[in-house]
Each structure stands twice: as structure tokens, then as C-alpha cells.
């Protein structure tokens, strides 16, 4: 049972971490782009 739990946990954690990294990177870029847009507008 430990092997089965380890395999499923590995997949769920890895996909979760990747999704989290994508979300964090997207947030950072959105912030940077909106700041650039505001500067240009000014």
C-alpha cells in the first residue's frame, strides 16, 4: 500500500507544484506588464 500511496502522492504533488509555479510566474508578469502600461500611459 505504501508503494501505491507514494506513486499517487508523487504525481499529485509534482503537478500541484508545477501549476503553482505557473500561477506565480503569471501573476509576476501581469504585474510587470500592468506597471509598464501605466508608465507608458503617464
Amino acid at each position: 500500500v505504501a508503494f501505491v500511496i507514494a506513486a499517487y502522492a508523487l504525481v499529485i504533488v509534482a503537478l500541484g507544484l508545477y501549476a503553482g509555479w505557473l500561477a506565480a510566474a503569471r501573476r509576476g508578469l501581469r504585474k510587470s506588464l500592468s506597471a509598464a502600461g501605466k508608465t507608458e500611459h503617464r
Binding site: V1, F3, V4, A6, A7, Y8, L10, V11, A14, L15, Y18, A19, L22, A23, A25, R26, L29, R30, S32, L33, A36, T39, E40
Partner: protein
């Protein structure tokens, strides 16, 4: 593709994955136990779907590469690179969940069996694709070379899929599950796993393409600011 259409795909595939994953896990928990392997066989309900998602990723890389060579649009290059990254992630999960099953069933983590070796080769080919792109980012020449490399690498996918049949009985890896070795009650968790993995793949791919588009836009903004510093 417009931001709005991409956003719709991200939300649609995300919702599909969110609804499908609990159903798949419920089917896995309630699937009958294999009479020979016992509970360890349930690892295959996650291992094989990861393989399908990895194949989809590498097919996406080749398709994006071919369309880039034809249309010379950066959007297709972004799709190819993003698809390779998500494909490599699923391939890494395939070659880590496989040895967990092997340790419990064969008594060892790895064997230089034809299927396993080809899977490792497939992983390394597309990992090299990503490394190559990261070392020489941005040029049109890189995109062209990456497109050709991504298309050529796809030749390993059918070899990998049919490896057991091609080895003619010399492989110790089990035959492809979908080709008849699934017992009663095992098809539902298996196919639900495949659908889930493909939904998760589509969701992560759409989000990765979205990120690549934003990165290119951000780089363009930086270039503009550098060319005309009085504007910032």
C-alpha cells in the same frame, strides 16, 4: 489565438480536470484487486495515463514545430516549446511511478529492458530540446532548429508504444494494458485515468502557452523601454 480564447480554454480544461480527478480516484480506490499483483497493480492506473499525456506533449511539440516551419508564426513555436515542457513533466512522472511499481513487483527499481530504455531515451531527447532552447533563447534560428528536432524526436513515440511487440517476447515489461490485459472492473479506472491525465495535460499546456505569451510581451515592452527611455 486571442487572450480571451486562451483564457476560456484554461478555465474549461481546469473545470474538467477538477470534476474528473475525484471521480477517477474514487474508481481507483474501488477497483478490484489484481489476483497476482494485488494492490500494487493500482499504480498502473496513474503510470500509464502519464505515458499518454507525455505522448500528447511530444506530439504537440512536433505539430507546433511543423506549423511553425510552415507559417513562421511565433505562436506555433510557443505551443511547441510549452508542449515539450509539459510532456517532459509527464514523462518524468511516468519514469518515476514505473520504478515504484517495478520495485514492488520485480524486486528492483530498474531493468535495461527495451521499453524502459526507450522511455528514458524519449525523456532525454525532449529534455535536451528544452535545454537547447534555454541556452539559445529567442532567435528565429533556434525556433527553426527546435522545430526540426521536435519533429524528429517524435519517431521514438511509436517505437516506445510498440516496443513490447517489437521485442518479440524478450521484454519483461507488461504488455500495453489497453490491449486486453485488463480484468473485469479495471477498464473504468484505467480509461478515467487516461481522460484525467489528458485533461490535466490540456490545462497545464494552455496555462504554459499563456505564460509564454506574457513573457514575450514583457520582453517586447522591455525592448521598447530600452529603445526609447524617455517614454518610461
Amino acid at each position: 489565438m486571442s487572450d480571451r480564447a486562451l483564457g476560456r480554454i484554461v478555465r474549461g480544461t481546469g473545470l474538467a480536470a477538477l470534476l474528473l480527478v475525484p471521480v477517477w480516484l474514487w474508481l481507483v480506490v474501488n477497483a478490484p484487486l489484481d489476483s497476482v499483483q494485488g494492490v500494487v497493480q493500482k499504480i498502473l492506473y496513474v503510470h500509464v495515463p502519464c505515458a499518454f499525456a507525455a505522448y500528447a506533449g511530444f506530439a504537440g511539440t512536433a505539430l507546433g514545430g511543423a506549423l511553425y516551419l510552415w507559417r513562421r508564426s511565433e505562436g506555433w513555436d510557443r505551443l511547441a516549446a510549452s508542449s515539450a515542457e509539459v510532456g517532459v513533466l509527464f514523462c518524468a512522472l511516468m519514469i518515476t511511478t514505473g520504478p515504484i511499481w517495478a520495485r514492488a513487483t520485480w524486486g528492483r527499481w530498474w531493468s535495461w529492458d527495451v521499453r524502459l530504455t526507450l522511455t528514458l531515451l524519449l525523456f532525454l531527447v525532449y529534455l535536451s530540446y528544452l535545454l537547447l532552447r534555454s541556452f539559445t533563447e529567442g532567435s528565429e534560428r533556434t525556433a527553426r532548429f527546435a522545430a526540426v528536432y521536435g519533429i524528429a524526436g517524435l519517431a521514438i513515440v511509436p517505437l516506445n508504444y510498440f516496443a513490447i511487440a517489437l521485442a518479440g517476447g524478450r521484454s519483461i515489461h507488461p504488455e500495453n494494458l489497453q490491449q486486453g490485459s485488463l480484468g473485469a472492473g479495471m477498464r473504468a479506472p484505467f480509461w478515467a485515468g487516461v481522460v484525467c491525465a489528458l485533461a490535466l495535460f490540456a490545462h497545464l499546456l494552455a496555462r504554459r502557452v499563456e505564460l509564454a505569451t506574457l513573457r514575450d510581451r514583457d520582453a517586447l515592452e522591455a525592448e521598447r523601454a530600452e529603445a526609447a527611455p524617455w517614454r518610461s
